[in-house]
């Protein structure tokens, strides 16, 4: 396994469309990095540049300290697992897993040992004589991973590997990937648009939008201290609620309610006195209380919690928000509930960046 360094990577297609802007990332040996973002944000393009499937327009890529920016895909010692598995239907699982080594003309006995070892790690020993169409989607994806493992590459790339699986299988395969990562200690780059996958798998997450890196950090950093409105809205399910507000003295005034700021919040917002900002709060950072009133639109009971959707204000004319309240709630449409916010986030309305004290992270 090896370290990966991506320095000022950019991708401009022939039609002058720029897909990736100034991408910088240093991946440590054995680290699992997840690239996350909505469709078209450039995450797959970045992965394909790393794999050598797309030319790097500008920038530099170092793998294990060696410059591989212009190296062809076959010389990079990188294995990639695709969303559609890319297995050969006419070959058995054993042959699929052994294929890349057979092409390299490795000793058949060595290939045999490697395939059996990988099959054992992935729980595929009983399936080796079967054809891919005899396996479930999860098993096929494991075969695709096995094909990568036998090569013992310096870097594993995963391009939305769980997208074709149903929810239950996705969750199980996700756990398997995590166990596999721990067992192999492999350096992995994983692309997904599913934030749950990103939060559960990653050592660090790279959140992207429109070809730009929005934030790089641990899952907790992205969840707890999002760098800007985009990250705040993208990470977390249900997404964060946003309300326009104005800082007036020691109060934060919105169109429907006003909040008294704590001492720390006042210090944080000193520079924003009299200016418009965006107040953000996660649905799970709310409880029944008295900060403001919400007119209920609908309830979603999840067992331990209830997602309550509604509009701010007793008249139901304020912003639409979602609150995740503890316990089983049975509100009806039109009911008015008092809500308190337990954790607030503030964003600059113009730059959309999070308002933080200096040195509190990106």
């Amino acid at each position: 396994m090896a370290e990966l360094s991506l320095q000022h990577l950019e991708k401009v297609y022939d039609n002058n469309v720029q897909a990736v802007y100034d991408f910088n990332l240093d991946v440590k040996d054995g680290e699992l990095i997840v690239l996350v973002g909505p469709s078209g944000c450039g995450k797959s393009t970045t992965l394909r540049m790393v794999a050598g499937l797309e030319d790097i327009t500008r920038g530099k890529m170092l793998l294990g300290g060696k410059d591989v920016t212009d190296a062809p895909a076959k010389d990079r010692d990188i294995a990639m697992v695709f969303q559609n598995y890319a297995l050969y239907g006419h070959m058995t699982i054993y042959e699929n897993m052994a294929f890349s080594l057979t092409l390299r003309k490795e000793d058949p006995n060595v290939i045999h040992k490697k395939v059996l070892a990988a099959a054992q790690v992935l729980g595929l020993t009983e399936q080796l004589n079967k054809k891919p169409n005899q396996l479930s989607g999860g098993q096929r994806q494991r075969v695709a991973m096995g094909r990568s493992i036998v090569r013992n590459p310096q870097l594993f790339l995963f391009d939305e590997p769980l997208s074709n699986l149903d929810a239950k299988l996705r969750s199980a395969t996700r756990r398997e990937i995590l166990l596999l990562h721990k067992r192999l200690g492999a350096t992995m780059l994983y692309v997904t648009h599913d934030q749950t996958e990103a939060l559960t798998l990653a050592d660090r997450i790279v959140c992207m939008s429109m070809g730009h890196v929005q934030q790089i950090g641990t899952p907790l950093e992205l969840y707890d201290t999002p760098a800007n409105l985009f990250v705040a809205s993208f990470i977390g399910l249900p997404p964060m609620n946003f309300i326009d507000a104005k800082v007036e003295g020691s109060r934060l005034v919105t169109s429907k309610f006003a909040l008294e700021l704590t001492g720390e919040e006042k210090r944080l917002l000193t520079a924003y006195q009299g200016r418009q900002i965006v107040l953000g709060f996660r649905p799970e950072n709310t409880r029944v209380g008295s900060d403001f009133e919400m007119q209920v639109l609908s309830n979603e009971n999840l067992g331990m919690n209830t997602l309550v959707h509604g509009h701010i204000g007793a008249d139901g004319k304020g912003e639409k928000i979602t609150c995740k309240l503890a316990g089983w709630c049975s509100y009806r449409a039109g009911d008015v509930v008092g809500i308190s916010i337990t954790r607030k986030h503030f964003f600059d309305k113009e730059t959309t960046n999070a308002i933080r004290t200096e040195g509190s992270g990106k």
């Binding site: 054993y94 058949p108 006995n109 045999h112 004589n129």
Partner: protein, 163 residues
């Protein structure tokens, strides 16, 4: 080859196909085809226009069908096809003494001129084709049989280990 390498080689057979045996049978089919193409293109009077040629055509079709099935069978290391391959191999040898040898001995008179029903060169060619075809069938059967026996022994060893 060390004991361990031999064991791995035997273990590999659990997951790999017996391509050598399968390919040998396919070669047998090719040489059978070369044989009958050479035989059927011969046109001397009405010597070859008889029921024996009809029977030969039917047998060739059956041979190709059976050999192809056997090729697929031995590829998957199925044990039942070795007997069939030996039978087909023996039959290819028997066929040498049926049409080609008879034709090589016979003389055909066309417009008062005598011709050999089969030239010496063609006779040697078709005999060689049939012999290669027979050898390939029998070699495939032997190779398949040896491999299957090794695999069976290896499987028994594995079962003993797990038990």
């Amino acid at each position: 080859m060390t004991q361990e390498e031999r064991a791995i080689q035997a273990d590999r057979m659990r997951f790999t196909k017996d391509k050598l045996s399968s390919n040998l049978v396919l070669i047998a089919i090719v040489f059978d085809a070369l044989y009958f193409v050479s035989l059927y293109q011969t046109d001397i009077g009405s010597y070859y226009y008889n029921w024996k040629i009809g029977a030969s055509v039917v047998y060739n079709l059956l041979f190709m069908l059976a050999a192809f099935l056997a090729s697929e069978g031995v590829k998957s290391r199925k044990t039942g096809y070795t007997g069939l391959l030996i039978f087909l191999g023996v039959m290819q040898v028997v066929r040498i003494f049926y049409l080609p040898t008879q034709a090589a001995k016979d003389v055909v008179t066309v417009s008062g001129v005598e011709y050999p029903a089969m030239e010496r060169g063609q006779y040697i060619y078709v005999v060689v084709c049939l012999i290669i075809s027979a050898v390939c069938c029998i070699a495939a059967a032997v190779n398949s049989s040896i491999n299957n026996r090794r695999l069976a022994q290896h499987m028994a060893t594995l079962e003993n280990k797990t038990a």
